[in-house]
């Protein structure tokens, strides 16, 4: 989960920056979107990895702890992504409510 960790962490950082107004203009949002997409792919990959280990478990080829750990990883990265998504929406709403 190492690169996944990194990307989601970066995502969080980028998010914080944009909320506090430190991010640059369009460039900031393009790389943000890209990061979001990559994070999504990574989470999807985790999910498939977990499903793979479950299939192996049912066949008798993998052991329980392997499958459980894979499920956990998928679980955590999914929840983290959800949290980030919620923050994005919060940030968006905040920006929309700003009165100039």
């Amino acid at each position: 989960m190492e690169t996944g960790d990194m990307k989601i962490h970066q995502l969080h950082e980028a998010l914080n920056q944009s909320v506090t107004g430190k991010a640059g203009g369009d460039n900031g949002s393009a790389s943000f979107e890209k990061m979001m997409r990559e994070a999504l792919d990574k989470v999807n990959g985790m999910e498939r990895g977990a499903n793979r280990s479950i299939a192996a478990l049912l066949e008798g080829k993998a052991d329980v702890h392997e499958a459980m750990i894979a499920i956990q990883k998928a679980d955590i990265s999914m929840r983290l992504l959800l949290t980030v998504r919620n923050k994005v929406i919060e940030a968006y709403k905040e920006i929309m409510h700003m009165q100039f």
């Binding site: 479950i54 299939a55 478990l57 049912l58 999914m78 959800l82």
Partner: protein, 135 residues
């Protein structure tokens, strides 16, 4: 179900696994309770085969009894599971090996618990995603 690693595919596999293990459990407990019945032959079902068959949604013709040792197909939700009489050793009055049956009981029980736990995790995550999505 073209994608074997999809959520749906895995979910179905887990669901099917719990059904199969439940059925196998009753077969094993039958064998154990009949362990002192003369001439009793232990019944078994092939877990992997039953699971694989469940994952192929191919249309099934009514089951022919291809082997005289196969018992007739059971009606109801466990339809399609091939129950057969296991090859085993004569122990003096029947073919039941009590150690083997106890071991199978443990193995089957663990498989059941694992499948239900994995299923539970998936459902919980799904519920949370749905709940969070509403925000």
């Amino acid at each position: 179900m073209p994608d074997k690693l999809s959520f749906e595919s895995t979910f179905n596999a887990l669901e099917r696994a719990t059904t199969i293990t439940q059925h196998r459990h009753s077969l094993i407990t039958d064998n154990i309770s009949e362990s002192d019945t003369p001439y009793y032959r232990p019944k078994e079902l092939d877990f992997k085969k039953a699971l694989a068959e469940a994952m192929e949604p191919a249309a099934k013709a009514p089951m022919a009894q291809t082997d005289p040792k196969h018992l007739s197909p059971e009606p109801g939700p466990i339809q399609g599971m091939d129950v057969f009489e296991e090859e085993s050793e004569w122990n003096g009055f029947n073919w039941v090996n009590i150690d083997r049956e106890m071991t199978k009981l443990t193995e089957n029980d663990l498989m059941y618990r694992t499948a239900t736990e994995a299923l539970l995790r998936k459902i919980t995550l799904l519920k949370e995603v749905i709940r969070e999505g509403g925000r």
